[in-house]
């Protein structure tokens, strides 16, 4: 699509994003934020089962990076990557049902929050809680692309904290040795739960870890959605060319607690306000769009209205969804047999065992 001259005249907006695409980025960030705000309301109404995790202030990392992928590329999101999942095709309805533990949620009530995926059509993988584990998994996903000579790329996120895990190290090292088409995005939001990055790693820059794996380590402003897009686009292009793994460190800030229950008492006074005031990724992007890029604020308001309507509709549907049927959780542990196992040790006490005849004689059998 053609780039309008107004946009091209913004030196910060690079030429490979069309006007529609720039508005797209705004749409995804706004949708992420509004959907999370809706989830907060539902959480306060105790309709959310379990914890609620926000990505407030980190929307640009998730959206800008996922936006650099093609539909056939595989994305491995973490808890701060609701935005990435939406870009990859996860719907607000799925997310709402999932958080409310509904029977028609993507995991049918088995897993919580945004722990779900779709590798048959939309190409994003459901995470587990154990930090770092998705890195070796994505090494294998992208090793397959290489073995099958498919021009596909994988992108895996880890937090600053997760870079301390053995799994991260083993996975990225293996992928690097194999020159897998993988992009490892370290979302450095300065905290791992309550632990500041300085207690996580003695290196000044997490991007410097790349040197130890013999791969490039890039760093970008994670609250600038276009910068995030660009740095990821370059790493993705490198991977697709067959040049292997890139580590991308995105500098950002976690404005909410680890989860909703966390009161952030460990954060120095004023720090959160400062980031909210000076470095909100959506505010910054709006200023850029309506400033140098010349987008009419009315256009953004129209997007906001669209997003609100989408989330409202999804909420209405999700709230009406039924809870899961207890027995449904027994199937699907193995490919074969697909049916539920017999529950002899519990129900058998009344059924299966009672059906067994008691021998007439105890001890020795006749015959």
């Amino acid at each position: 699509m053609a780039v309008t001259s107004t946009l091209a005249s913004d030196p910060a907006v690079r030429a490979d994003l069309s006007r529609d695409q720039l508005l797209d980025l705004y749409y995804w960030m706004r949708l992420t934020r509004l959907l999370e705000e809706r989830l907060v309301n539902l959480y306060r109404q105790t309709k959310v089962v379990g914890g609620l995790f926000r990505s407030l202030g980190q929307e640009a990392c998730a959206v800008g990076s996922a936006y650099a992928l093609r539909p056939e590329d595989v994305l491995s999101p973490l808890i701060r990557n609701l935005g990435s999942m939406l870009v990859k095709g996860a719907t607000p309805l799925e997310v709402l049902r999932q958080y409310m533990a509904k029977g028609d949620s993507p995991t049918r009530g088995r897993e919580l929050n945004i722990h779900f995926g779709d590798v048959t059509e939309r190409n994003f993988i459901g995470q587990i809680s154990h930090l770092g584990d998705m890195v070796p998994v994505m090494a294998g996903v992208t090793l397959t692309f290489k073995m099958r000579k498919q021009p596909r790329v994988g992108l895996v996120y880890v937090g600053d904290g997760a870079t301390s895990t053995g799994a991260f190290h083993e996975g990225i090292n293996f992928a690097a040795v194999q020159r897998c088409p993988l992009v490892v995005v370290v979302e450095n939001n300065r905290y791992a739960y309550s632990t500041p990055t300085s207690k996580q790693c003695a290196a000044e820059r997490l991007a410097d870890k790349a040197a130890g794996y013999g791969i490039p380590g890039l760093r970008a402003d994670g609250n600038d959605v276009v910068a995030v897009y660009e740095v990821t686009r370059d790493a993705v292009a490198r991977a697709r060319r067959g040049d292997g793994v890139t580590l991308v460190e995105l500098m950002t800030y976690r404005r909410k607690g680890h989860a909703e229950h966390d009161n952030q008492s460990y954060v120095p006074a004023g720090e959160i306000d400062r980031w909210a005031r000076d470095n909100d990724p959506i505010d910054r992007y709006v200023a850029r769009l309506t400033g140098a890029a010349g987008v009419d604020p009315g256009e953004l308001e129209a997007i906001d209205a669209r997003v609100r309507a989408e989330v409202d509709d999804a909420t209405d549907v999700a709230e009406k969804s039924p809870p899961p049927e207890p027995r449904d959780c027994l199937v699907g542990i193995y490919a074969d047999p697909p049916e539920a196992p017999a529950l002899w040790y519990r129900e058998g006490i009344r059924s299966a065992v009672d059906r067994h005849e008691r021998p007439a004689s105890w001890g020795t059998h006749d015959g």
């Binding site: 904290g161 791992a192 207890p326 449904d328 959780c329 040790y345 519990r346």
Partner: protein, 325 residues
Amino acid sequence: MAEATYLEAIRQGLFEEMERDPSVFCMGEDIGAYGGAFKVTEGLLDRFGAERVIDTPISETGFVGAAAGAAHMGMRPVCEMQFIDFVSCAYSILTNYVATARYRAMLPCPMVVRGPSGGYVRGGPFHSQNPEAAFLHTPGLKIVYPATASDAKGLLKSAIRDDDCVLFFEHKYLYRRIKETLPEGDVVVPIGKARLAREGRDLSIITYAATVWKALEAAEQLEREDGLSVEVLDLRSLLPMDDDAIVATVKKTNRVLVVHEDTVTGGIAGEITARINELAFEWLDAPVRRVAAHDVPLPYAPPLEDFVLPQTLDIVRAARWLAAY
């Protein structure tokens, strides 16, 4: 003395042991200024300082392994898993290095690995686990899993003073739900001794951790509705296991139901059943039965979790079947 919750009892145990012995120190994620994900270690940093209350990187193998090394040198480290589900990340170092250290190399490993365990809290498959059986099979480790506040405190003291590695499972459902007036003074609960939680004549329920409370509820219901006198044995220690207490209750009631929250296949109930079979078969009037979780990763939606985990009514039904056998 004021009442203490299960969680406060653990915290008291940590405080008292750190006061008593300067070689005791704590490591874990977010245990310092934050006081731990469940606030078990709250106040420890202020009292003992950052040298003895160490916030670690997210590196379970790293700090459990470091605990082993420090233990070799005479320290008594206590490691917190933010959730016990993450102990699997330290499985190799615990089962290969720590568990064998004394036997193969005469290396003492006086250390404790503790953390919030168990379900009934809508935590889903990775914040609800009961991995005790995964370690039961490893000679060289000790395993305790208290059900009461005073046992939590007394067993933690024993665990810290023990000259070998003790895995100390804490049930997060019990953290703030139960409280009791703790005994005064330095009361230590020995590892390897069960506790008779309720006396009875007709039937024994052998269990541990949160299901002790479900068993007690079931026992009351069975007494009320069926006139059954049910004994409840709380194992407290899983490795070593109190065979004497198990045999004593079998000889007394002749009918045994083993209950645990962990999945049924390969769960500790199988081991208990085998011991009863070998040690007290002649005293049985009915087959030993188990009530345990279904063999699935623990799902998170309330109706699913409630279905998978053993509930009081499941225990009541199984007990009735046993009593009528």
